[in-house]
Subunit: 118 residues, 2 copies
DNA sequence: CTGTATCCCATACGATACTG
DNA sequence: CAGTATCGTATGGGATACAG
């Protein structure tokens, strides 16, 4: 029989036509991989993330952090009840399964930037 | 001196604030990784790609192929001068440097889809 | 067969001001 | 400090028809 490869990939209510598009649906967009990259080896506070990403707006950073949290990739921990608040973001165990992926994405970016800067 | 890590990453006229965002700027979007995924192991004609990606529109496929070609990731070869045209797409040597990346993106998607489908 | 042309829209993202 | 609220915009991508 002629199966035209109608396999579907689903995650949290979203269905993708390809395994690659599922991954990109979760970590795609302009900022998500940057956030994950900065959280690879350390826990960071909101303001520390902002300083690491000088060109992102507060609103966008907030939205992307929330999306990553909803997808279970990062964890948000609040340490103080009254202002000034202290909030820390870190990778979850699930988020850590992305470490090799984030690393190779970062490495490829470095290699390409190096090669084409000369 | 207080370097706030102002390193920039550039490729083909675009500047990114992070090595990870450079990579995503090149292979990001809804369809580029899907195209690259289908070209991993074989050369494909325009129509073969379309059949592999039933939900993409002709316009979008055409635009994404052109963008990938302009970034030097894929190669477009025309084999006939008069209609019916025969056009084949394949990875360039530069595009092949993405193979491990595409593979790990695809693998992660499969694992996640498997885990959350049960 | 391999695309373009036109039109349209949703959504992602930015700018700025403001709040608990 | 850690965000929301509001508003505006750019662009990625869909639908459809048509062209070389």
């Amino acid at each position: 029989m002629k199966t035209t490869e109608e396999k579907k990939y689903t995650f949290r209510g979203n269905t993708y036509p390809c395994c690659a598009s599922l991954t990109m649906g979760i970590i795609g967009g302009k900022w998500k991989t940057v956030i994950l990259y900065h959280l690879m080896n350390e826990t960071l506070r909101y303001n520390e993330l902002r300083k690491s990403m000088p060109t992102v707006t507060e609103r966008t950073l907030s939205l992307q952090l929330k999306a990553l949290e909803e997808d279970g990739l990062i964890e948000r921990k609040v340490f103080t009840a009254k202002p000034p608040l202290k909030v820390e973001y870190s990778l979850t165990e699930f988020g850590k399964t992305l470490l090799p992926l984030i690393q190779i994405i970062a490495d490829w970016g470095v290699v390409v930037a190096d090669k084409y800067s000369k």
